[in-house]
Symmetry: C2
Subunit: 147 residues, 2 copies
């Protein structure tokens, strides 16, 4: 997955530096959304000098290039699962949806075209030119509903 990020950066003239690559790795290896300061703690294990700006600057880059997303309701970050799957990423990066389970904390990433379309239409109807979209649904996941 990191290799795909390398390739994507090379293709766009963006620099996936060791720090950024490491932060992306940490986000991706987390099974759940991870906060900036949790990330910082992990980062400190190998970089003693790491401080909040270290993490936030890396995250800014990764967000900007769509390698990670921020889950606003959790103030936490997830690796973008679709970014590394070869989509034409620049059309879709800003239209991702999250299903957040309130019980187990699991977060699932969706990329539903009809949601995107409905939202685009509603925005257009209001004379609004849409950019980045934040769509987050809190609820109960399949596993927790069964259990």
């Amino acid at each position: 997955m990191l290799d795909a990020a390398d390739a994507a950066c090379a293709a766009h003239g963006a620099r996936l530096t060791p720090l950024r690559r490491q932060v992306l790795g940490l986000v991706l290896e987390s099974p759940q959304p991870i906060g900036a300061y949790a990330l910082l703690d992990r980062l400190k294990e190998s970089r003693s000098g790491a401080a909040p700006p270290t993490v936030y600057r890396a995250l800014d880059f990764l967000l900007e290039h769509g390698f990670v997303h921020k889950v606003e309701r959790l103030n936490a970050f997830v690796g973008c699962r679709s970014a590394t799957e070869g989509h034409d990423h620049h059309d879709h990066a800003h239209t991702v949806q999250f299903l957040i389970c309130g019980r187990c904390g699991h977060v699932q990433e969706l990329e539903d075209a009809s949601v995107r379309a409905a939202l685009a239409k509603a925005a257009a109807h209001a004379g609004f030119t849409p950019g980045r979209m934040t769509v987050e649904v809190e609820g109960t996941c399949r596993d927790c509903a069964r259990g």
Copy 2:
């Protein structure tokens, strides 16, 4: 508008105390989303003892009853425009959408049924039982696009 909130609370056995009413008033009179600490500053003008918990507790109540919404991307709060317009509010309070203009900062509240439906369908398809939804679109409003 505050009167409608009085009525809604009376109907549900909720207590719109002077403090909560005042906070709701402050949120409603703000033309733009207002942060908790800005709210606190205003509150201090008449309540010298106001502190962060004062505001946050009132906001919790108002959020829970759908009189205000939180705009997650801004960490700010807006009065719910539809809450006071006599809708069956408990079905819709959790399915509101915001259009956030990146230039002028204006925030428009939408309540688009097709967005809600698309999202519900996508969630169901993933075996997910939806609860509160956060839908926020950043972009450019009509006025700013013209100017």
